[in-house]
C-alpha cells in the first residue's frame, strides 16, 4: 500500500507559453481508486506522464510514501501506466505482451508463464494467450493492457482514459473489472478521465483539474453537491447561479431573500442549486416563474424558467412534462438544504 | 551532458554528409592544385567560365538533360496518374500483381533490362534518339510516379466528385476544378522527384542514346575520365543544382508525408 504525493509539480512545454501543469499539490491516499478528472487540455495526461517518469517536471516533486522519486527513471519507480489506446506490442503475442515487464526483469521463463496464465484468467482472456493483438476485440485488447500492468504488482497504477476507446456497451463491463481488480489488489490507482459521469461511477475520490490547477479534491458527492468554485459547479453541470449576499441565515438576491441551511457562510457569494434539486411546485422558498422552454431528454425533462429576470433550470421526470406549457406561470421552490454558496468570482 | 553528446554526434553526421562536396567546391575554383597542397595554388573562375562557354558543350547538355527529364515527367504524369487512380481507389483482382509489376522496374538494376530495351527501341527506330531515351527513362520513372499517385488517391474521397457532378459539372470540369486541386500537392512532389530520377539516369542514356544523346552525367564522366578535375567539379556542382532547387521547393521538416514520398524514391 502506497501513498502517492505531488508537491508543487510544474511542467511547461517548450514553445507553448502557458504551463501545462501549474504547481500541482496532491496526495492520493494509499489503496484508493482516485479519478483525475478534467476537460481535455487541462494537463491530466501530462500529470500522469510526470508521475510515471515519462516526462520530467520543470519544478516540484513526485513522492511515494514520502520518498521522492522525481529523478528515478520510469522503470525504477514501480509505477505502471495503461494508456488510452491499448498499445499492445504488435510483434508479440498476448501472453508475451502480458509477460513483457517480467521478462524485462529477467525472471525465469517458467515463472513468467505461470503468472501470465493466472493473469489471463483474472482478466478473462483464458485461451487467447497465443493470439496476436490484432486478433482481439477492442475490449479484449484493453483487458490485456490492464493485465500487462497489473502483473507487475506496481505500487501505483495509472490508467489514462481506460474506457474511452471502448464501445459504450463494453464500458460497464470494463469499469466493473477495474473496480474489482483494484479492490482485490488494493493497488493505489489513479484514473484519468474527462467524463464526470465515468469518474463518479468509478472512483472513491475525485481530483478535478482545471487549466493545469487542482480545482477540488474529495469524494464524488462533495464535488457534485458542494463544489468549491463556480468553475467546479459548471463542470459538474451546474446551471443555476444567483449572485447575492448572505446575512443572518438569509440570502439577499435579485429573486428576493432565500432561507439558507444552517451554518451557511456570511457575506457576498454566488448561490447555486443543482437543477434536479429545484422543485416544481410549492414548498420552502417558493417563487413564481414563467416557463421559457421544456426539452424532453429521455429519462429526464429540462425546464427553463425566468423568476424576476433571473433564468433558472430544473430537471424533472418526463411524466410531469405534459402539464408544462411554455409561456405560462409555475410555482417552484428552492429547498434550503439544497442551496450551496460559492465564493464570489 | 547528454545534449552535448547529441550535438557532437550530429556534428559528425553533418561533416560526413558534407565532406564529398568540399573537394568539388575546391577543384571548381582551383587554378592548379598539386599534391600535397591543402588549398588550391591559385583561385579563379576559369573552370566555371569554360564550363559555361559553348565549346564545352555543358549548356547544350544541360538543355538536353532538362528536356529529357521534363518530357519523361510529363509522360509519366499522363500515364501514371490514371494508373495511380485505379490502384489507389479500387480493390480488384490482380492488384497485387500490378503493384509487383510496378515495383520491379524501380527495384531491378538498369543493367538487367537495358539490353532488351535497346533491342526494342532499335526495332522501333528510336535507338540513338532523344525520344528513345525518354521512353527508356519512363521505365524507372513511371513506377515511382504511379506509386506516389496511388498513395495520393488512397487518401482522396471520391464523394467530392459525385457532389460536383450532381451540381452540374462535366467530367472534365470535375477533374479540373475538384480532383486536380485536391491531388495537386502530391502530384507536384511526385513530378519533382520523377524529374530527379530521370535527371540522374546514366546507363539507360548511355545505352539507348548510343553516344548521340549527351546528357550531363555522360559529359561529366567523360571530363572525369579525361582527368580534368576542375571542369569535372564545376559540372558536378551544376548537375546537383536542380536537386537543390527541388529540395528548396519541397523542403519542410521531415514530416511523415515528405518522408513517405521520398521513401518510394529510388535510392
Amino acid at each position: 500500500m502506497t501513498t502517492l504525493s505531488l508537491h508543487g509539480l510544474r511542467k511547461t512545454y517548450p514553445g507553448v507559453g502557458q504551463a501545462a501543469v501549474h504547481g500541482l499539490d496532491l496526495t492520493v491516499d494509499s489503496g484508493s481508486l482516485t479519478a483525475l478528472l478534467g476537460p481535455s487540455g487541462c494537463g491530466k495526461t501530462t500529470t500522469m506522464k510526470l508521475i510515471a517518469g515519462l516526462l520530467s517536471p520543470d519544478a516540484g516533486e513526485v513522492a511515494l510514501d514520502g520518498t521522492p522519486i522525481t529523478t528515478l527513471p520510469p522503470e525504477r519507480r514501480g509505477i505502471a501506466m495503461v494508456f488510452q489506446n491499448p498499445l499492445l506490442f504488435p510483434h508479440l503475442t498476448i501472453a508475451q505482451n502480458i509477460g513483457f515487464g517480467l521478462r524485462m526483469q529477467r525472471l525465469p521463463q517458467t515463472d513468467i508463464a505461470e503468472r501470465v496464465a493466472a493473469m489471463l484468467a483474472r482478466v478473462r482472456l483464458d485461451g487467447l494467450g497465443d493470439r496476436r493483438p490484432a486478433a482481439l476485440s477492442g475490449g479484449q485488447q484493453q483487458r490485456a493492457a490492464l493485465a500487462r500492468a497489473l502483473i507487475l504488482q506496481p505500487k501505483v497504477l495509472l490508467l489514462d482514459e481506460p474506457l474511452s476507446s471502448l464501445d459504450p456497451s463494453l464500458r460497464d463491463e470494463m469499469r466493473a473489472l477495474i473496480r474489482t481488480l483494484q479492490q482485490e489488489t488494493g493497488i493505489t490507482t489513479l484514473v484519468v478521465t474527462h467524463d464526470q459521469a465515468e469518474a463518479v461511477a468509478l472512483a472513491d475520490r475525485i481530483v478535478l483539474m482545471l487549466d493545469g490547477r487542482l480545482a477540488q479534491h474529495g469524494p464524488p458527492e462533495d464535488l457534485y453537491r458542494r463544489p468549491a468554485s463556480l468553475a467546479v459547479a459548471r463542470f459538474f453541470g451546474g446551471v443555476n447561479f444567483i449572485p447575492g449576499r448572505s446575512q443572518g441565515g438569509l440570502f439577499q438576491c435579485p429573486i428576493g431573500p432565500l432561507t439558507l441551511p444552517p451554518g451557511a457562510p456570511q457575506g457576498d457569494h454566488i448561490l447555486t442549486l443543482r437543477p434536479e434539486a429545484l422543485r416544481l411546485g410549492p414548498g420552502a422558498n417558493p417563487r413564481t416563474g414563467r416557463i421559457d422552454f421544456v426539452t424532453f431528454l429521455g429519462t429526464q425533462t429540462r425546464v427553463g424558467l425566468t423568476v424576476d429576470g433571473t433564468a433558472l433550470q430544473a430537471l424533472t421526470t418526463p411524466d410531469l412534462a405534459g402539464q408544462l406549457v411554455p409561456g405560462t406561470d409555475l410555482t417552484i421552490s428552492l429547498p434550503p438544504e439544497a442551496l450551496w454558496l460559492l465564493p464570489p468570482e | 551532458m547528454r545534449a552535448n553528446l547529441r550535438t557532437l554526434a550530429g556534428l559528425a553526421l553533418a561533416v560526413f554528409l558534407v565532406l564529398p562536396f568540399l573537394p568539388l567546391v575546391g577543384w571548381s575554383v582551383a587554378r592548379g592544385w598539386r599534391f600535397p597542397a591543402l588549398l588550391p595554388d591559385q583561385v579563379g573562375v576559369d573552370a566555371w567560365a569554360y564550363a559555361l562557354s559553348p565549346p564545352s558543350g555543358v549548356l547544350a547538355s544541360f538543355a538536353v538533360t532538362t528536356l529529357i527529364a521534363s518530357a519523361t515527367t510529363l509522360l509519366a504524369i499522363l500515364v501514371g496518374l490514371p494508373a495511380g487512380r485505379a490502384l489507389g481507389l479500387y480493390r480488384f483482382r490482380g492488384r497485387g500483381l500490378v503493384f509487383l509489376l510496378l515495383l520491379a522496374p524501380a527495384l531491378l538494376p538498369g543493367i538487367a533490362v537495358v539490353f532488351g530495351l535497346h533491342g526494342i527501341l532499335l526495332r522501333l527506330g528510336l535507338a540513338g534518339s532523344i525520344p528513345g531515351v525518354i521512353l527508356a527513362h519512363l521505365v524507372p520513372v513511371l513506377p515511382y510516379m504511379t506509386l506516389v499517385m496511388a498513395a495520393v488517391f488512397a487518401r482522396f474521397d471520391t464523394a467530392f466528385e459525385d457532389q460536383a457532378r450532381s451540381l452540374g459539372a462535366t467530367p472534365w470540369q470535375t477533374f479540373r476544378h475538384v480532383t486536380l486541386p485536391a491531388i495537386l500537392p502530391g502530384l507536384m512532389v511526385g513530378a519533382l522527384f520523377a524529374f530527379l530520377v530521370s535527371w540522374s539516369q546514366y546507363l539507360l542514356t548511355l545505352s539507348i542514346g548510343g553516344g548521340r544523346v549527351q546528357t550531363l552525367p555522360l559529359l561529366l564522366f567523360s571530363f572525369a575520365s579525361a582527368g580534368r578535375n576542375d571542369i569535372t567539379a564545376a559540372i558536378a556542382l551544376l548537375y546537383i543544382l536542380p536537386g537543390l532547387m527541388i529540395l528548396a521547393v519541397t523542403a519542410r521538416r521531415i514530416t511523415g508525408r515528405g518522408a513517405a514520398l521520398t521513401e518510394r524514391l529510388h535510392p
Binding site: P90, H91, M104, R148 | L108, A260
Partner: protein, 287 residues
Amino acid sequence: MTDRTRLALLLAPALLVLGGLFLTGLGLTLLRSFRYMPALGLTEPDLAAYAAILTAPGFLASLAFSLWVAAASTLIAAVLALAAALLLRQTFPGRAVISFLVQLNLTVPHIVGAIGILYLFSQSGSFARLAHAAGLITTPAEFPILTQDPYGIGIILLYVWKELPFITLILLANMQTLGEDHEAVARSLGATRWQAFRHVLLPLLMPSLLAASALVFAFAFGAYEVPLILGAHAPKALPVLAWQASTDTDLATRPEAMAMAVVIALIGCALLAVYGRMLAKGGAGAR
C-alpha cells in the same frame, strides 16, 4: 461505363508501357541469353552462354565482388542509419540543419557523390594531402589505396554516404507513424531505455529497415556508374563486366552479357520478394 471497363482504361497506358518496354525487354534479354537470335541465324536455344560465364574466372570473381560490396554497404549503412534516425528523433541544436543535409543528399546523383569520394580518398586526394601535412606520408604512393581498390572500399564508402540518408528518412517516417507511446508503455512496465529499444522499437522498425536494406542492396549490387568511377580494373563489378561484354567487338560474347544480366535480374527479383514481404509485414504491424 462499368467499373471493370473504367479500371481497364485507367490501367491500360501504364500496363502498355511496363509490358511493352519492361517485360518485353526482360524477355528479349532472356531469349538472347539462351542464344536465340534469329537475326543472326541462331534459332536453337542453348545454355552455352551460361556455361561460358560460369567457367570464365572473371564472372565468379565479379559476382562475388558485387555481392560483397552490396552486403558490406548495406550493413554499414543500415546500422549507421539506425543510429542517425535515433539521433534525429531527438531535439538538439542544429537538428534542422542536419535534417536538411540528409534530404539534400537524397537529391544528389550517385555519379556526383562518386567523384566527390574519389577526390577525397584517392592517393592524391584530400585525405592523402592531410596525411602529408601531418607528416605521415611523403609521396601519394604511400597513402593506402582506398579508391579503385580490389576490395571496393571506395565504392562502399560512396554507398554508405549516399544510402545512409535514404534509410534514415525511411526509419524516421516509420518512427513518426509508430509514435513514442509503445516505448513509453515499455518504460512504465519496467523496461530500461535499452530494453525498450531492443525489445519494442527495434522489432517494430525491423520490417521497414529490412525493406529499405533490400532496396539499398539491390541498387548497390546493380549500379553501373559508381563502380565505373570508383572500381578497380579487377575484379570488376558485375554490371560493369556485363556492359563490357555487351559492347565487345566479338559478337559471340553478347549472349554472355545477356546471361549476366539475367543473373543480376534474378538476384534483383529475390530482393524484390524480400521487399514486398517486409512492406506487407510493416503495413500490418503499423495498424
